[in-house]
Symmetry: C2
Subunit: 685 residues, 2 copies
């Protein structure tokens, strides 16, 4: 019979073997690809192993099981670490996949990508984003748990874990998110900080000498450590301590050595380049690892780690049983929760949207129209939840009667992100990734600049997040050029897979919300005015439902003949185009006016629709939009004209600005007449 000590020793040896398996799979992946980042996987293998082997709740055969713990590798450049874990624990990832690291079409791209690799909860790489996504996931967990759990039915109850890095700690978005997580008391957020004192350019302290522990304490986090990041027992105890703290998020500071075991360990050399053959050999020798074969996986290590499948299966089956009991007692809630987790919208959710604003509505800002629609929608779509970066009264995004989300009431629908646009963007991304919520985030259009990185990631991941941007042009008036978006609208249009919609009036605003909710595989940016605009009488003009095709003919005086000139605008400038069109019509010119609220929706239409709206041979086209003109040639070409902004705005009342910058019906009409009189210049090929 073995002594207890012998058992312990054998277990410790097996643990060490598993850790080295993780470590050297990562090293071999990078070396094999001749590209990648070996340093962090080598340093963080121990903490990752302890977490995945002893704490993390997951089922490798069903990576999207609802109540799993979420795990984020915020320093996405350490992707090889994650792929090792996913392979060893039994996700649908083979050793061959690991050998295809960083190759075209592989399941193991350079940075972890959501939807590409099973088990990857979010796409990471741009630093700080993963850290912040996790805050959104933990927020979603609290919200769903509070809404759906019932006494005796603990249906939603999981942790959100992440490994975070020195680089994450330096990014401002992390600070924003950490401060908010502390304020919201997200006690089930547990982050392991890989504190290795080295970054790409060299030692961390050249640029970063702050006391991270004290800083997170200031945010209201529990800070554990610094502890030895190679000491399994210390990590184990720390995670238990973190779990025991239910009110404060926890940061576990693990001191590690980047590139642990390599001759160049603890230097920037091991950050972002393969170790090289000699380096790999030296590291394996140092840590007592066989030099051959590469991608060596000891049978007992694999067998031990693959127990995750059995563990996961049991825990999921247990949950399934508990969920069935919950469903029996709470059929409505269970149905709503499951539909929400699947991202489904309830039947009839958009009924009547087309008649939301009657024909005789008084002029209103589209931000106000948006606010009314949003408040109607939340009554039908419980998952719809969001907030603003301290501008809810201005963006009209308060859900009246739906409470404020906070530690006093995790049921609230209104999230106060504070003046933290960047974190807001990444937090709503985390909420969408978690599932069960359809999040929106609001600020002024100018400040969309603060949150481009998470918007880009949402577009890359194809998740349904709704950004609401108000104060969408010089029409916001006297706050002046710092607050007047000029280039933002066009620059949002340049982001692939982001749908941008700028409605012309209240009726289009309602349709814009419909389009945003229907867009369930990508983010949508809704762009709204601060100033009042007329509500188009849809008994006179065609239905605003034309917005669903991106653009439509709003008015023309030449239904039989072809138009001589096309005027096209978006948002508040559609009314200018319309007025110009009527002026031209009064002069006997055949004119067509197009409302083009969404370029992305329009460009997705079949060619025959697009060519019906913009007949290819009608080249006298004038676009009008109170934003930068660059980009409009996409529709008006080299022979058209664009009435818009050529520089920054100014501080003055909106109507003065429109006049001074020449964004007027008169100017549009004049440009149109100029085109009609101009000599042909182009020789088409």
């Amino acid at each position: 019979m073995q002594t207890d000590e012998a058992v312990l020793n054998r277990e410790a040896l097996l643990d060490e073997k598993c850790i080295n398996t993780i470590r050297f799979l990562a090293v071999d992946m990078v070396q094999n690809a001749k590209s990648g980042h070996p340093g962090t996987p080598m340093g963080a293998a121990t903490m990752a192993y302890v977490l995945w082997d002893r704490f993390l709740k997951y089922h490798p055969r069903n990576p999207t099981w609802a109540d799993r713990d979420r795990f984020i590798l915020s320093p996405g450049h350490a992707s090889a670490l994650l792929y090792s874990l996913l392979y060893l624990t039994g996700y649908d990832l083979s050793l061959d996949d690991l050998k295809q690291f960083r190759q075209w079409g592989s399941k193991t791209p350079g940075h972890p990508e959501y939807h590409v690799t099973p088990g990857v909860e979010t796409t990471t790489g741009p630093l700080g984003q993963g850290f912040t996504n996790g805050v959104g996931m933990a927020l979603a967990e609290r919200w769903l748990a509070t809404h759906y759990n019932r006494p005796g039915h603990d249906i939603i109850n999981h942790y959100t874990y992440a490994i975070v890095s020195d680089g994450d700690m330096q990014e401002g978005v992390t600070s924003e998110a950490a401060s908010l997580a502390g304020t919201l008391r997200l006690g089930k957020l547990i982050y392991l900080y890989d504190d290795n004192d080295v970054q790409l350019s060299g030692p961390t302290n050249v640029a970063f000498s702050e006391n991270v522990a004290r800083r997170f304490d200031a945010y209201g986090w529990q800070v554990i450590g610094p502890l030895n990041g190679f000491d399994e027992h210390a990590i184990d105890a720390a995670i238990k301590e973190a779990q025991a703290e239910t009110e404060r998020p926890s940061l576990i500071i693990c001191k590690t050595v980047i590139g642990y075991g390599s001759p160049a360990q603890a230097t920037a050399k091991v950050h972002g380049e393969p170790l090289g053959e000699a380096g790999v050999r030296a590291a394996k020798e140092t840590l007592g690892w066989p030099l051959e074969p590469t991608f060596y996986v000891p049978d007992d290590a694999l067998a031990h780690m693959r127990k995750a499948v059995e563990r996961g299966s049991e825990v999921e089956e247990d949950w399934n049983r508990r969920f069935e009991a919950y469903r029996r007692d709470n059929p409505t809630e269970a149905g709503e929760l499951q539909a929400g987790l699947r991202g489904e919208l309830p039947a009839g959710w958009d009924e009547g949207l087309e008649d939301f604003f009657p024909p005789d509505s008084k002029p209103m800002a589209t931000r106000n129209a948006s606010g009314e629609v949003l408040n109607a929608l939340v009554k039908r779509i419980h998952a719809l939840t969001g907030g603003s970066a301290d501008v809810s009264p201005s963006t009209k995004t308060t859900l009246v009667g739906y409470g404020d989300f906070g530690w006093q009431d995790y049921c609230g629908h209104n999230i106060h992100f504070g003046v933290r646009e960047h974190a807001m963007g990444a937090i709503v991304g985390g909420m969408a990734l978690h599932g069960g919520m359809i999040p929106y985030a609001a600020t002024f259009l100018t400040f969309s600049d603060y949150m481009r990185p998470p918007m880009r990631l949402a577009a890359l991941m194809g998740i349904r997040v709704i950004y609401l941007f108000t104060h969408d042009s010089i029409g916001m008036g006297q706050d002046g050029p710092t607050h007047q978006p000029i280039e933002q609208l066009m620059s949002l249009r340049t982001i692939p897979h982001l749908t941008v919609i700028r409605p012309a009036d209240a009726t289009e605003a309602a349709e814009a919300w419909r389009a945003a909710l229907l867009n369930n595989d990508g983010p949508t940016a809704l762009v709204m005015t601060r100033q009042n605009v007329p509500v188009l009488d849809r008994t006179v003009y065609p239905s605003a439902a034309g917005l669903q095709r991106g653009g439509y003919i709003l008015w023309e005086n030449a239904v039989t003949a072809e138009p001589q000139v096309i005027l096209v605008g978006t948002g508040s400038e559609v009314h200018i185009a319309l007025e110009a069109g009527k002026q031209l019509a009064a002069e006997g010119i055949h004119v067509r006016v197009i409302s083009l609220p969404s370029w992305e929706l329009f460009d997705r239409q079949p060619a025959d629709y697009r060519e019906r709206i913009f007949p290819p041979h009608v080249r006298a086209r004038v676009a009008v939009e109170a934003g930068i003109t660059l980009g409009w040639e996409h529709y008006v070409g080299l022979d058209g004209a664009v009435v818009g902004m050529h520089g920054f705005g100014a501080s003055a009342p909106a109507e003065v600005l429109y006049e001074q910058f020449g964004i007027t019906a008169e100017h549009v009409a004049q440009e149109a007449k100029g085109l009609l009189q101009r000599e042909p210049r182009g020789k088409t090929p």
Copy 2:
């Protein structure tokens, strides 16, 4: 004879009168404009008065005097506070100007604007930016002082002050900047924090419950307070304490009441709207201020505050005398410093740039070429200083032999910003605003998204900042879509007044640096490859100096006849265009290949030049760029074609990606032939 106490009482009364003058001028400005933010001026008037009356070193008649203290109002929405101060202390701003608050063409726009109002050191409004600009100014002060001061000659020696707000504290960029300021031990940075517990949406604690004092302590700042922000003596003592601390930046926490004196004080109601007539009256009554006239300025208050002119004149004259003594002892340094402060480049600074890379140079990445040029330039241009967001080895921006900037050596030219792109952008802005430095900031092009807000402000202010963005396309390879810029190039082009330059090879890279340095009234973004590209032999091809005009004909096979087709590209894709051109030429097609490194420089050329390059009637045009295609219609119109990206990239070796995404010479040639065969579709007007 009066007792001392009576004198003190009289002085205290006069101080109070001055403070109320500042306060109510701001209130009346907002009320008169029917727009603006009265709350912060009312709450922060005391701290502003104490600073400006007793500490700040400035000369209202010479607002740009070199060694003045810098003052920043980071919550720019409180602009009325600053305008009151500027008027009362004798800057070139009249009472009538205050009455034109927020009107077209006035000197008192909604937010303080650099270059519009004398005495405004930087444009503020977007929160966190002013806070961070100040770090750049304090950094510049240390750098210049260390380089130019000599024993007995303390020529550069001033403080950088700011008033900062709750909103600033929540922005991530502030966290980044504060952490770096602590690391760099910028002891002459003194910020007064207007801690009033209220923000736009309501009470601050809904979103912000952290311990700010502890957080700043963690960054390595001296934290003073919280103190009563209406207690002049406490503020006075705190600023003295801050000045006495020479190693740590200081944060003075002043508890104030937003909208102090108004019936709605301490609520969000007074944040961003005029008080209304009744509110103004009540506030004036509460604080014992005459109701009439509006814009009331007591003679003794004005006389007292206008003493700033005399004080300023004396202190500047003293400095002028000291500078002359310095010049006698150190004529070279004095000349260099003054030229630097004027933003002048030394004679001969760009000599030989055109021959920097010989015709037989081996293929090289433009980032490498850029690094070589930069290192040559710094030997001639001492003011050239900068760094990267932890990617100097990758962006090739290390100035070899020029030391690292840090508290151990403020002489260093290499600034380590850490993984803090956003703060980096705003800090280099502050350096440029300070004067005496030509700063650059480097990161990967994708991460330009993290720093758009300060880039926009630099463009709005028209300051010379150079951004260097490398890894400029899918050509960066295996790091995958998170790191591959797609939309960034085009979206940078949408920013007004920002010059974007993407050189095709090493020779254009040298010219790009020349253009960036010559662009002294706006920022420039230089965009460089990670991968090698051929160096164009300029004995065969026209001079790379064509870059200075934005675009030029690189090659054509039809010098007498007109081209049938035009191929145009930027950066690494110019070589693809060239190869395609030669393929087409081999088939007997008359083709022109254009290198178009900078749209902004090109569009600024006279029409005859532009039409010489792009003859208007030649419409068979193919653009090629490894970025989003949207926007290229600006040059190729509706009848051309664009070979580029339509979605995000992928993780694979660069050459595989170019092939897979079809950005190849074959594809370009095929598109060109397609255009030549196509039926004419357009009917030009």
